[in-house]
Point group: C2
Chain length 294, copies 2
């Protein structure tokens, strides 16, 4: 496994593998902010299974942190990340400095319309968050020139913003979303979980419980958001979590819905002490009665 600190080094390492990359299997890119966990490893495995070469990028992107404190507190352990990447079969780790990605004079922003980036995470984290995501992903795609790039469905709004950008700008890459990887009690894997105290970690399980409660209710035919929301909020509150949002939205437009009468994403964000937990679930309305499901 090679480690590249600059775009030039990455190109050098990849050029040795490039003869294979003209084929369908080519290069797979897994963009991360490091602090690798089982969720990232599932992305690497998906890329490893599909591509001749796998590039893992590790870059804690300052542009997507509106809150300097969150940026400073974001967990970093490059040595362990590199060991995990090597074990998972990564070919090249691309770990650039902030100066390599944003040299003096950098002046370009890629942004997606606020109807997709000003709501949910964008409303909480600030308008600049998804601008930072879109800009860095656009640049990483230009540098690594992968055939496909892999993102977790846990950050479903990020995945949607990236898909939108790639389609709009006709970037020649396939975006692959991978299912959220969960702990035994259902908590979505996240680099930020490392900062939870034991009590907060126990309380955090209320987030997937709330989502599962909603999915169960929808399965029983309860589709009104006004009925689905209160018990879920109560689940979060009983665990001592501060709910930031619990939203029912269209999976592509992010427009809020009143009822789960079509595919709907339920997205939640809650604070466990200093740590923001986010999660989501795709809900499908119950099959209509009398069409073979009576």
């Amino acid at each position: 496994m090679r480690i590249a600190r600059t775009a030039a080094e990455l190109h050098e390492h990849l050029s040795a593998m490039r003869p294979r990359s003209g084929e369908a299997d080519g290069v797979g890119l897994v963009p991360t902010m490091g602090a690798l966990h089982e969720g990232h490893l599932s992305l690497i495995r998906a890329a490893r299974a599909a591509h001749a070469a796998v590039v893992l990028s590790i870059f804690v992107n300052p542009k997507q942190f509106d809150d300097g404190g969150d940026l400073a507190a974001y967990p970093r352990d490059e040595e362990q990340d590199i060991a995990l990447a090597r074990a998972a079969g990564v070919d090249v780790v691309f770990a650039p400095s902030a100066d390599e990605m944003y040299p003096s004079g950098f002046a370009t922003t890629v942004s997606v319309h606020p109807r997709l980036t000003g709501v949910l995470e964008g409303a909480v984290r600030g308008a600049g968050h998804f601008d930072g995501v879109a800009t860095v992903v656009c640049k990483l795609l230009a540098i690594a020139r992968p055939d496909a790039a892999y993102f977790g469905e846990k950050d479903f709004q990020q995945l949607l913003v990236v898909r939108r950008m790639v389609e709009d700008l006709a970037l020649p890459v396939r975006i692959v979303g991978c299912p959220t990887v969960r702990e035994a009690d259902g908590l979505a894997r996240s680099s930020r979980n490392a900062r939870l105290s034991p009590e907060q970690r126990a309380a955090a399980a209320a987030v997937p419980q709330a989502l599962n409660g909603i999915a169960d209710a929808v399965g029983r035919g309860v589709v009104g958001v006004s009925e689905l929301r209160p018990p879920a909020l109560e689940t979060l509150e009983r665990a001592g979590l501060a709910c930031e949002y619990l939203a029912f939205v269209h999976p592509e437009t992010l427009v809020p819905v009143d009822a789960v009468d079509g595919p709907t994403v339920c997205a939640v964000a809650a604070e466990a002490g200093p740590v923001r937990l986010i999660d989501n679930l795709l809900l499908n309305p119950p099959a209509p009665e009398g069409i073979g499901h009576a």
Copy 2:
């Protein structure tokens, strides 16, 4: 010569030529808004001399017109453009519709910082102008995937914005600026010149006259902007042109300068009736006395 209306058609046409495009000579892209004139043809010739395949794009980009009237009045003559392109040796004309470039749901903008895009043309044409330029060029580069793209130095701020975007996003393309092509009386070639009445056309020569007067004065050792500007403004005024700006700026930062004591761009915009004329000249300070030039 082939004509492509969609990205898919362009890829189809290019794939027949692609075997050669892995080489240094590859594909050259000349992005235009059509209404081809000698300036565009000089870009095509430069691309033709350097590349195995030349793509000419013709797209009157609605996103870079803040003024709907200017968009509606922009000259269009696709039949003649195609004939000129064929004669100049273009391999593929890419002439997409607005719906092909900006389908329903399009939501992405590429923008360069207002310190480069909010001044000069950006100040007159509105903040959205260069956002529109950067977005469409980014998309055209992603669709055509050229080794190099050719732009005229007449639109020097556009060239600067494109260079900045390409460098910042690490887009794998070389941006080539080509010298302004001029009429016999010095007027810079522009698609908009077609809309000048004979009187306006005669008056328009005052724009290069004003610039040349400045260059002559600098050559005589006059470097203070406060001395250089008044005679140039008078030249424009005497010709009946309404000056929008006559600026002396740093060629890369666009910061205004007080004196031509380093490389300086003098950029001018003036109205001849309904037509905006823009032009610019790179000024270099006179060689210092006593170093072999006494």
